[in-house]
Amino acid sequence: MKNLPTACPSCSGKLAVKRLRCEKCETEVEGLYALPILVNLPQDDQEFILEFIKADGSLKDMASFLKVSYPTVRNKLDEVIAKLKQNETNQKGKK
């Protein structure tokens, strides 16, 4: 499966979902739906969040799993939190 683009290749604006398709019965739904806020993060950050949840929110377990130190994981989490807050602010600004 290809990676989902989140920014317009023409003007770098935020992309929204216009059409959804059921893979089972091929029903198509059209509208205009905002992408979930998590999808706007880079692939790397999304994977980090998933692994963080799977690790039960334990930074220590994450550090052990990723073979890096606790402060390194902590700083990465802070970075992701900052990006999410920025995305939230941007979305609220558009509404």
């Binding site: 980090f48 130190s69 902590r74 700083n75 802070d78």
Partner: protein, 202 residues
């Protein structure tokens, strides 16, 4: 997903804290501090300040040499924890600061090793024929030469100390650098006071 797949030698030498912190760094660092103190004992060299290192001085009991290293580490770590609490916007663990600051001192082993072969020569050149301690030309030349050789290792150690502080407290940029420098100076003064107090116990 890899936060940092780079395990090259340069990372291990100049920023090992990406992979090593807390208790693991603490044990390795403390071992390095004690080893450096032990090697210093062989040449009457000692770390009488956070960044100070003197050789050719009077013999010191081993417990003083070990205590100096521990005092230097504790002073800088404590000061940087306080500095981090003031300037950092995120929470951090004290064990990470103390552990990484201990590990950051491991280049001090090289400082102690560098002077080891020449320490006795440096001492012997200090005494003049009038039984008064006067610096000889050869002694001064050796002192300057070894001083220059040690500079890169001291710079390396300071770089490690800063990187440990930056990573553990999640601070960077000019604010972090100036805070670190101020902390280093304060810790140096503090360690000098405490170590001078230790000398009075001898």
């Amino acid at each position: 997903m890899n936060l940092n797949p780079d395990r090259k030698l340069t990372t291990r030498l100049f920023n090992p804290f990406i992979h090593t912190a807390d208790v693991q760094a603490l044990w390795i660092g403390l071992a390095a501090i004690l080893i450096a103190g032990g090697i210093g004992a062989l040449s009457d060299s000692h770390f009488d300040g956070v960044l100070d290192f003197h050789t050719g001085s009077r013999s010191m009991p081993l417990w003083i040499l070990f205590s100096e290293g521990i005092v230097n580490w504790l002073c800088l770590s404590a000061v940087l924890v306080i500095a981090g609490k003031i300037i950092s916007k995120t929470a951090f663990r004290m064990i990470d600061v103390f552990g990484t600051q201990a590990l950051a001192r491991w280049p001090s082993i090289f400082l102690a090793l560098i002077v080891l072969p020449m320490a006795s020569k440096l001492k012997g050149l200090n005494v003049s024929q009038h039984s008064q301690l006067e610096p000889s030309t050869e002694g001064m030349a050796l002192t300057i030469f070894f001083g220059l050789v040690m500079i890169p290792f001291v710079c390396w150690m300071v770089l490690l100390m800063y990187r440990a502080f930056s990573l553990c407290c999640n601070v960077r940029g000019a604010k972090a650098i100036w805070t670190f420098i101020a902390g280093l100076l304060l810790a140096e003064i503090l360690s000098k006071i405490i170590i001078n107090g230790l000398f009075h116990l001898i």
